[in-house]
Amino acid sequence: MSELWNWGFVLEILPRLLGGLVVTVEATLVGFILAVVLGLFLALGRRSENPWISQPIGAIVEFIRSTPLLVQLFFFFFVLPRYGIRLPAFLVGTVALGLHYGTYTSEVYRAGIDAVDRGQWEAATALNFSPLRVWTGIILPQAIPPMYPALGNYLIGMFKESAQLLAITVTELMLTARVIGTETFRFLEPITMAGLLYFLISYPSALLVQRLEARYARRS
């Protein structure tokens, strides 16, 4: 049986799809905030002069970066409950997303921090700033703005990859579309509309990031 596009059906399912989109956006934003904060601490940890800190953090970062997001999702969602740690699906999803992308953003921080001129550290030492103030007042304010395009690209990547949260029953946009499909035996409209909704957010965001990139390229 072939399906023909049905606008009435689209209008009928749109509110549910938008509800799913809200969950997708929420998971992405919470995950992104986690990734940005975690990435900073992972990057700083890896720079630590203490090998008992830098080595384990380096190993964790490399492991997570080299394995699929699904492994982390399944580990937290299916393995941890066996040891009595049972967490809500949305929480697991955002934490796994944040952790996974935190290992990517930590590399962005690393590159950003390395790009700050060595002389800035020397001037900061000569002026006797505390180590905390050197980071917060001098190094990070220079390291972070050039990172915006790379972070923006990861944000868009997270937005799309958050679809994988359906595997642990988070009713984000993709799972919502699939559920509608299985309930109504019509997949054409829900899946197409889901794709369209992803596109309507991803594409303009990508253009924005491109403009940011051009701005920083001009500056340097």
């Binding site: 800035q120 020397e122 001037a123 030492t125 000569a126 006797n128 505390s130 180590p131």
Partner: protein, 266 residues
Amino acid sequence: MHADHNQNSAVDPIIRFEKVTKIFGDLTVLRELDFEVGPQEKVTIVGPSGSGKTTILRVLMTLEKPNNGVIWVDGDPLWHEKKDGKLVEAKEKHLRKVRGKIGMVFQHFYLFPHMTALRNVTEAPIHVLKMPKGDAEERAKELLNKVGLSDKFEHYPSQLSGGQKQRVAIARALAMRPKVMLFDEVTSALDPELVGEVLNVIRELAEEGDMAMLLVTHEMGFAREVSDRVVFFDKGQVVEQGPPADIFDNPQSERTKTFFSAILRH
């Protein structure tokens, strides 16, 4: 031990190197160096490039750690702290205490590019000396006036010429009221026409006299003019030192003679 050492001198030196050695890989840059600077003394270090002149300033500013020896700053060991009568390796807290007496101006300025000229000068007084913001700004404006930049308070480093940047850097270092100021080839990165404005500021500081100054420079005319003492430094050691006239006009050692005849030929 420190007091004994100085029994015969009228005033204690503000800086003293005792058998300080610094090694980079296979290269010994400072070789059991003994060296002193008196309070308010203006000392210029000259010598061939790669002779370790800049390293003297860098170990003083705690940017490089010496391999051996002791450096004293105003009576305190710089890289060591006293513990049970012995000198042990200093912790960051001790370094911060002693380092505060020293200021440094760099060849490449190293201004903070994300701050205006004014904020470059107020940042350390506010956050390190805990000076109230208003006082720090007032003082910063005085200092920027002094280096001839009263119209550049709100300019960012990228909007300034090399000579202007270096003058902001001098004001920034002065704002911390150091007892010793280190000048590391501060005109070497400047276009020739901008060298004068920076040297004028340093000359003025030398004339005021309160601060000890230790300069590494290739501007021999300037060195002669502002220095109480010129130190000819080569291969990690002081070869010869004395009043500028003696060193420039009547050098004793062969190495010094060769060096000056080589640079004067140009």
